[in-house]
């Protein structure tokens, strides 16, 4: 049973899939209907791809499918045959961190940290594509990622910082 309890999986329906995962060619034999999120976590130990809600809403499972940020709980693994998946684990090489990750640290945009990988994955796509970045634009880009801890302001500060605009960090009595 999968975490949601609904998709049984296994049995006669297993198929071989091969795809690129965080820069590596991988393969797996799996029920193609199984959510990508669960395959990444269970078969490939990519536990930075989180489980957060049952409604496809929260965005903690966000990864990149080819160039696009997507919610991996809403994609059947069968869809990724021959394609490229990047998780938070594969965003950078070795000990490097992405400037958005650095900005999150500097802006104190992390409390429990559970939502952070999802925000980073959505954010990297957004910042790569965005022509113009302001707070409203950032909020709009992050609609699919929920944070229960921070109240979002410092997350938005981090994005401004990463985009190289304004000072970023807010003082406690602002």
């Amino acid at each position: 049973m999968y975490p949601d309890g609904a998709i049984e999986g296994g049995g006669d329906h297993m198929m071989d899939l091969s795809f690129t995962l965080d820069g590596e060619d991988v393969s797996v034999t799996v029920d193609p209907a199984k959510p990508l999120r669960d395959v990444l976590r269970e078969d490939f130990d990519k536990t930075g791809v989180k489980v957060g809600c049952l409604s496809g809403r929260c965005g903690v499972c966000t990864v990149h499918l080819d160039a696009h940020a997507i919610k991996s709980c809403l994609v059947p693994v069968g869809k990724v045959q021959g394609r490229t998946i990047t998780t938070i684990h594969g965003l950078t090489e070795g000990d490097d961190i992405h400037e958005l990750q650095r900005a999150f640290g500097e802006a104190f945009a992390i409390q429990c940290g559970y939502c952070t990988p999802g925000f980073i994955m959505t954010g990297v796509e957004y910042l790569t594509e965005a022509d113009m970045v302001d707070r409203d634009d950032i909020k709009y880009a992050l609609k699919g990622n929920v944070c229960r801890c921070t109240g979002y302001e410092k997350i938005i500060d981090a994005f401004e910082k990463a985009a190289g605009i304004s000072g970023g960090t807010r003082q406690p009595d602002d």
Binding site: D4, G5, A6, D16, H68, A69, L74, P76, G78
Partner: protein
Amino acid sequence: MTSNQRSSDKYIRPESLEETLQLLANSPTGAKVIAGGQSLMLFMRQGLLDPSQLIDITGVGRLAGIEINDGTVTIGATTSYQQIESRLDEQFGAVLDAVKVIADRQVRNLGTIGGAVARADPALDILAPLYCLGASVTVRDIERRRVIPIDEFIQGYMDTALRDGELLQTISFDVPSSEEGSAYVKHAKIAGGWATVGTASSVSINGDRVESLQVALSAVGDTIVRATSVEDALIGAVGSPENVGDAVENLGEDIDPIEDISGSASYKRSVAKNLTQRCIQTALSRAVGTT
């Protein structure tokens, strides 16, 4: 896939329209077409659907892309909201407005216009604009092709005219003229959430008079609802804010929203009036060219 990889009947990716239609003609009961999967995966994870086969149509060229030819826009069923947003400009006011308020960027990267039309939930934002634009749907099976106006294709709550073996291929509508303007306005409880109410309108003007008007609402009935009383009250009249306000007073005759998690019926009626007024005003400004 390489030849020594195990394939499965459960997940098939046809490469052509012909192959897809063959598969549908012979598919087992419980086979489902999947494009973006943004609705389907949720139904599956919630235990509402358990397809015996998934036919992934996103590799079929003839189901993809946007063509604008001879005054007609034809959008392939597997075109994602993100692709629509990058291809269509402000001339397509209502469609573009709707795409921008659908869910969030992750969902829009994969979710498709064909998926929405096939699902036919009246709260899906892309639908009301398509009603206003008089869109039609082309469906195919292995034997024939049918072209169906969208308000006939959608027959009820999540109920369409799609028959067994049929596939939704494209959605088409006319390119708006320069005397036309359209808009979509939505109210949702949460950012990126389902519409409590949404209004689309498309208007054409002749001088300062409203020559034609279509007003369609999301999430206030089993299907998208045309606000014909509002339309009748404004067609032929001067498109002034006062006349728009007066026309919108008739909205109560056209809609019958139900109480649910989004709000009471009276709340929805009140929101619907405000949104409809705002929507028609914006469409008019765009028709005149001031927005």
